[in-house]
Symmetry: C2
Amino acid sequence: MASLPGVEPSEQITPAELRLATRNHGMPLEALAYDVTPAGLHYLLIHYDIPVVDGEAWRLSVGGSVARSLSLSLADLRARPSVTRAVTMECAGNGRARLSPRPISQPWLLEAVGTAEWTGVPLRDLLLEAGVDDSAIEVRFRGLDRGVEGGEAQSYERALPVEDAMRDEVLLAWGMNGAPLPPQHGFPLRLVVPGWYGMTSVKWLSEITVSADPFEGYQQVRGYRLRQTPDEPGEPVTRMVVRSLMIPPGVPDFATRERLVEVGPCVVRGRAWSGLGAVAGVEVSVDGGVSWRPARLGPSVSPWAWRSWEFEWDAAEPGDYELCCRASDAAGNVQPLEAPWNLGGYANNAVHRVPVRVE
Amino acid sequence: MASLPGVEPSEQITPAELRLATRNHGMPLEALAYDVTPAGLHYLLIHYDIPVVDGEAWRLSVGGSVARSLSLSLADLRARPSVTRAVTMECAGNGRARLSPRPISQPWLLEAVGTAEWTGVPLRDLLLEAGVDDSAIEVRFRGLDRGVEGGEAQSYERALPVEDAMRDEVLLAWGMNGAPLPPQHGFPLRLVVPGWYGMTSVKWLSEITVSADPFEGYQQVRGYRLRQTPDEPGEPVTRMVVRSLMIPPGVPDFATRERLVEVGPCVVRGRAWSGLGAVAGVEVSVDGGVSWRPARLGPSVSPWAWRSWEFEWDAAEPGDYELCCRASDAAGNVQPLEAPWNLGGYANNAVHRVPVRVE
């Protein structure tokens, strides 16, 4: 495997990966404490540069295979009936840097997730107003962010099948956590597709194009595919697979992030989510995955957001432990002990393991 | 040098450094476009975990060598006369990962900076109300964040000489950019010491202790010292040395962050700051530092914040270029081509170099 292009057998991170890691950031796992992730703690993955957009001059165009093209200002969009939905969003590459050999891209460990309250207009309402042709199969979304990827200069662009674009929960969001979108989350407008990995929720949206042809842009046919080799077409990455994460208990060592827990009762808390069905259960192991016991599930924050869980651990004996959590969903999916490898490092939902020392 | 503990001769980043880099984050350099950094884009360096604090139950104590101890709620502090100051803050370790051999800690490249509008009460007013004893030499600040560092369990704690603590510009801030402090920036209250590196501006503040003895805690006598070897005491890191950064022009390649610029006129923009005197000038080189021409300085955002600059570059010929910028301050300091090495990787203000390809 080590001879494949774009993968790295070493545990050490390359300078190019560090350039990505100092820009993009995860949600520190202690922020799993919040139902809704405070702005600035939500994960960020930005392919190119954050555009500086003049909200007064900006317009959204809706065109292509429609009866009536639309051109809307931010004020037009804000004047329409709006909805607010709490949505958990995860980067498709979350966990990539834990794979071996390691796919070379943004080197996420585990933290590329967050939950925000997005406010905006249902995409369906705009598509119905524009009138989608019977010939249409996809809706394409283009952002204002530009860069080079796979050797091609491009705007960030993705497409959704019409039936997914017309789903009730899909939003064109102009607000996040009760405020206008921050620049880094797509000001003035972004797509939010609940249940899907974050690459789908195009930021800095400028053009929506209804199309009778499949989109063959880089982010659709090269990026975000589950492949074993660069030559195969692979399967598209779509919905988030089931995952749970815990708040690492105790206190950290600054340099290593290793955890120190005081002897005694310890409540372990976390969150779980799936884009394929409601969370059905969470189990915890305190012996590295040898034995498992059920955690107590709390409420979901919304139908599209993570569910809290907690587990009472009696850390009575000093020593070294490995805490693990794994979730299952209503569709019958369970987090694996090891996730299957793929070239892009996508959809890695292996159980979360946290070594702790009890003293 | 490579045999020193805590330094790494390799260009490759270790797994422990990656664990820090996925939590802490810099300000993507295109955000130098904003006078005041939007919340969520300001750099963050968090030694331990972000505490979850109940703002209703929290109190600040002011004690030690004072005539009257104080205990104040957040409401008490918000009811006092407040001031708002725009302040540029930089991490003392900014640039660390560019040093060779590389000190092992948070692996910053260049982006550990930001400017915020902090709102709060002058620290001096509280100290005057408490009545500082004549015997006092320092004021200590303790945060609610706890962890292990250098083998010691500790709260994050730093001290300032009384004369620095009494300066007009030093704030106890409860607001950032017009909103309550976000959790990651120190909710409900933090110290803000304009002109100093960020380690001084203790977050999640719980105790202020006026003292007749010098503080000998880890962050004062081990961390944040300029040393060549682990055994020497070294000099304390204090004020920010002069630095300029530019917005990398053109568009990036996703994987490498290398820049592509179109042939033609190109305005290069950036910011400059110093904690040792007003910014006096910025120069730009388009030939890797062989020749330099002055940039045009814009206004400072405030006496404590960065100053904008711009430079008109005629990128008339295709080819590879290395753009550089360097600032000088009113105290006569100039950014060096190479910064002196030290064991902690602090205060590295080498000129900013941006390779670009013109096509």
